[in-house]
């Protein structure tokens, strides 16, 4: 089967790196890669060829692909030129873009949406959300430290004493936890907040403080994802967050609710009460942001507070990000490539969840 | 009461000895690390086989034709000796694992 890897248009990552190619081939896949696809991630075409991939132009790929792979979905126009029944693998975010499934079906394509892989222990090795969120959390702190006009760590020096920065992490999922760990490493004082009760232990397990707000709603059925909270809770939470935010130098927000706009945890009013020079890194910016003022993919300044709304921080670390993405993809491919054949076994929970074009029982 | 007084006064040294022995027994054991509890128990058990001395003395004092006493004494010696020999041997085996390893470097 021809497994065609496209170059990303707006991202420095690439979906497949040379080192995974031999293993993909072992599964019975023939690897085609768009010329220059890995360049930004520092993988050269020569390396791909050396590992046994065929470097082709984009139009050739569109023509030949039996499996079309990219990190961000291909443009609709391009998808049209794919052969019918082509298996497209990307992150379609069907929760955010409700129409996409319909469109794909219309085009006669079969589609795996990697972001729909269940967040189970078994599927973790294919979970691109985890690996990319982890990078995002790490990068968020580096971004914050770069933007912050102050030191992160405490410094008692001959030229004066500097208190450690206070970092507040809102949402302690994968990205939040990584942000906590990184901030602590850099010497900051870290507090975190989440609505999931398990998050408290997880935060403490990284040596940070947990901010308690009582009355959060939890849904065990949500598979570990956060759920929509009551109005009253959100009010209480905002008050608590605002109290902390005013003392914080850096806020990293990661709170997402699947299929909904991200909750506003840091309203304009809070931002205006923060110290000038403070930094907010909003990792939820692609779904509207946890900060009211966030603009996606932009750094803005409001009242002296920097608000970084880069929802694609993983792209800033393209080499490792691509490596991890590529491994996720490989592990995922092992699920549906059996004896050199595509085997879309709908009994398999992972396939059933990820194959968004298949009809699911309500 | 008087007999007790008398016994006490006459055997004063013995009583000192017994009391000091008891204190010594306590003292020797009281700081033993838990890992040694079992071997120590085993070692103490072997020492309790000292009762074999009694059996030996019993046989030596018996009439050569007093077969009942002799066989009982024989039984005593066997029992005591099993306790003694087995006890020390088993303790030694338990302690084999404590052989000090040479540390790296």
């Amino acid at each position: 089967m021809k497994f065609a890897v496209f170059k990303e248009e707006i991202d420095r990552r690439v979906a497949v790196v040379p080192s995974t190619i031999p293993k993909l081939k072992d599964l019975g896949l023939e690897i085609l890669i768009e010329a220059g696809a890995g360049q930004e991630a520092l993988y050269s075409d020569a390396e791909y060829e050396e590992k046994g991939a065929q470097v082709k132009s984009r139009s050739e790929l569109l023509k030949e692909a039996e499996i079309a792979v990219s990190i961000h979905p291909l443009a609709e126009a391009e998808m049209k030129s794919l052969a019918k029944d082509t298996l497209v693998i990307s992150q379609f975010q069907p929760f955010a873009d409700a129409d996409i499934t319909g469109k794909l079906k219309e085009l006669g394509l079969r589609a795996f949406s990697l972001d729909m892989i269940p967040r189970t222990t078994l599927a973790q090795s294919m979970d691109v959300l985890s690996s990319m969120a982890s990078i995002a959390g790490y990068k968020a702190i580096l971004e914050a430290a770069s933007l912050l006009p102050r030191y992160f760590p405490m410094m008692i020096t001959a030229a004066g004493s500097i208190k450690p920065s206070k970092v507040l992490v809102l949402g302690a999922g994968v990205a939040g936890l990584q942000a906590i760990a990184t901030a602590r490493r850099l010497g900051a004082q870290v507090e975190a907040f989440d609505t999931r009760s398990a998050a408290k232990e997880e935060v403490l397990s990284l040596g940070a403080k947990f901010v308690e707000v009582e009355g959060a709603v939890e849904d065990k059925g949500a598979g570990g994802y956060g759920v929509q909270q009551s109005e009253e809770f959100i009010k209480r939470q905002r008050a608590e967050v605002q109290a902390r935010a005013m003392k914080s130098d850096v806020i990293v927000t990661t709170a997402q609710v699947r299929g909904r706009k991200a909750p506003i945890l840091v309203p304009k009013e809070t931002v205006e009460k923060m110290k000038p020079g403070s930094v907010i890194v909003d990792l939820a910016s692609s779904t509207g942001g946890n900060c009211e003022l966030t603009e996606d993919l932009k750094v803005i300044q409001h009242n002296g507070v920097y608000i970084q709304g880069n929802s694609s921080l993983a792209s800033l670390m393209p080499q490792d990000a691509s490596f991890l993405y590529s491994n996720n993809l490989l592990n995922f491919a092992k699920v549906w490539m059996k004896e050199n054949q595509l085997n879309l076994d709908m009994e398999n929970e992972i396939i059933a969840s990820a194959l968004i074009t298949a009809d699911k029982p309500a | 009461m008087d007999t007790i007084y008398q016994f006490f006064n006459e055997n004063l040294l013995l009583i000192y000895l017994l009391i000091f022995t008891i204190i010594l027994g306590f003292e020797v054991i009281s700081k033993v690390p838990t890992v040694l509890h079992t071997p120590l128990m085993s070692g103490a058990n072997a020492i309790s086989g000292v009762v074999i001395i009694g059996a030996i003395l019993l046989i030596r004092q018996a009439e050569p034709d007093d077969y009942l006493t002799l066989s009982l004494g024989f039984l005593g010696v066997v029992l005591g000796m099993v306790n003694v020999a087995g006890g020390f041997a088993v303790t030694d085996r338990m302690l084999e694992m404590f052989k000090k390893k040479k540390a790296k470097k």
């Binding site: - | 027994g25 020797v28 002799l70 004494g73």
Partner: protein, 463 residues
């Protein structure tokens, strides 16, 4: 005179050998030497007893040498042949035989009445009583440990009351015999003998199998006391001193063993249904996970060649990374090779374990990833699983019905031994039971990981 001197000196040296031996036995470095000293002391004493001048003695050396030979061979061989794991029951049976020896001496004394003073009779009766209890008690302890009898089959309802009645009965018969003095009836004497033996048996019956070591230690101090009493019969200071020494040290040792189990001696003896008590194994259904004590764990680690630590989310929760490194350092200082096996999904975020271990300054080359760790595991002596669960679950490999079937895990069961540190039997993130806990090679060490490791550190420092 001179020969008396040397005999007395030999006894004295024997006594000093016992004391010094016991003293050395209480430190791991010198314990073996201590055992040898005590043994040499015993040898001296036996020789002295053989050659001591005895007025009008017939000696009958044949009988003695024969008995010694038989006993030595029997004791020596069984001690050498016994499996490491069966040592405690062996000790128990040896101890019982010592008690039996005292019983024989006392019976002979009482039947022959060569020394019919009131004191002599009293002491002989005491020897009989204590020795008898030690004898049958030890035999039952042996049987329990060996798994020959089950606690439930021999425990009667209201067993404590029965025991009390038996004890009082035995004592009453004893007093009667004492009052009969030189004219004691053989029948009553045999009744007394029978009662002591039954009481010894009955005394141990209700005590749970897990508490047997404590009981053996107690019975051992009984044997010591009976030996001391026999020493009074024979006017032999060495028996007296040796017996008293064992009696005293055995008693304190018993108390210490109880303390180490966090229980009182009374609790063990009376209320102690050890089989179902606090030290019992926990499990679901009919499977039973076996526990290991802190000190056994420490000693196993200390005397191993290679140790693999498998950290999991529990390490993070307990914040045990630093004390874990301390264990590592102590083991490395003793020449143990310590590595860490990091499962890719251990913890709650990618790299969770890396962050923690870096914080504790564990050097990077000590961290093995999944594949390297699985290669190394078969040659590992002990795996210490610190708060990990899902990542060491064998169902992933052999139970197609398991939700994690197919996930590569750390095959810790391929190592020689596994110790799992966690607080309870509750499952990990994936919410599934872990058959590893019931694996033959595995022992559980329940408690907060930081706590448990802290205690292991203390134990290691004592070694």
């Amino acid at each position: 005179m001179a020969i008396d001197f040397f005999i007395n000196l030999a006894y004295l040296l024997g006594a000093v050998g016992f004391v010094w031996g016991l003293r050395l036995l209480s430190s791991p470095d010198t314990a073996r030497r201590g055992n040898i000293y005590a043994g040499v002391g015993m040898g001296l004493a036996i020789i002295a007893a053989l050659v001591a001048p005895l007025e009008g003695a017939n000696n009958n050396y044949g009988w003695i040498i024969g008995g010694i030979a038989v006993g030595a061979v029997a004791g020596g061989i069984s001690a050498r042949r016994i499996q490491m794991t069966a040592m405690p029951q062996m000790v128990s049976i040896f101890n019982g035989l010592g008690g039996a020896c005292a019983v024989v001496l006392a019976m002979v004394e009482l039947v022959n009445m060569s020394n019919p003073t009131a004191g002599g009779i009293g002491i002989a009766l005491l020897t009989l009583l204590i020795g008898g209890v030690a004898f049958t008690g030890s035999l039952l302890a042996f049987a329990k440990l060996q798994g020959l009898v089950w606690d439930s089959t021999i425990t009667l309802p209201k067993h404590n009351i029965i025991n009390m009645v038996l004890l009082v009965g035995t004592l009453v018969v004893g007093v009667l015999l004492y009052l009969q003095g030189a004219e004691m009836s053989l029948g009553l004497l045999l009744t007394f003998l029978g009662l002591t033996l039954v009481y010894g048996f009955s005394f141990v019956a209700p005590i749970g199998g897990a508490d047997m070591p404590v009981v053996i230690s107690l019975l051992n101090s009984f044997t010591g006391l009976s030996a001391a009493a026999a020493g009074l019969i024979y006017g032999n200071q060495l028996m007296l001193v040796g017996g008293i020494l064992v009696g005293a040290s055995g008693t304190i040792l018993t108390v210490l063993m109880c303390e180490a189990m966090n229980r009182s001696l009374l609790n063990v003896l009376v209320g102690g249904f050890g089989g179902g008590g606090s030290s019992a194994a926990k499990g679901t259904g009919d499977q039973v996970a076996k526990e290991v004590t802190i000190n056994d764990a420490a000693i196993q680690l200390y005397y191993s060649q290679s140790v693999m630590i498998v950290p999991g989310y529990g390490l993070a929760v307990a914040q045990a990374q630093k004390v874990c490194k301390e264990v590592d350092d102590l083991l490395e200082a003793n020449g143990v090779d310590v590595k860490y096996a990091i499962h890719p999904v251990a913890g709650r975020m990618p790299g969770h374990m890396n962050v923690l271990l870096a914080e504790a300054d564990v050097p990077y080359p000590k961290l093995l990833d999944l594949d390297d760790a699985n290669d190394a595991l078969p040659n590992t002596d002990i795996v210490v699983v610190v708060g990990a669960n899902d990542v060491v679950n064998p169902s992933a490999l052999d139970d197609p019905g398991s939700p994690i079937y197919g996930m590569p895990v750390l095959n810790v069961w391929e190592a020689k031994h596994v110790i799992v540190l966690k607080r309870s039997m509750s499952p990990g993130y994936a919410g599934i039971q872990n058959p590893l806990f019931f694996h033959d090679k595995n022992r559980m060490l329940f408690g907060d990981a930081k706590d448990s490791l802290g205690k292991v550190v203390s134990e290691l420092k004592n070694l």
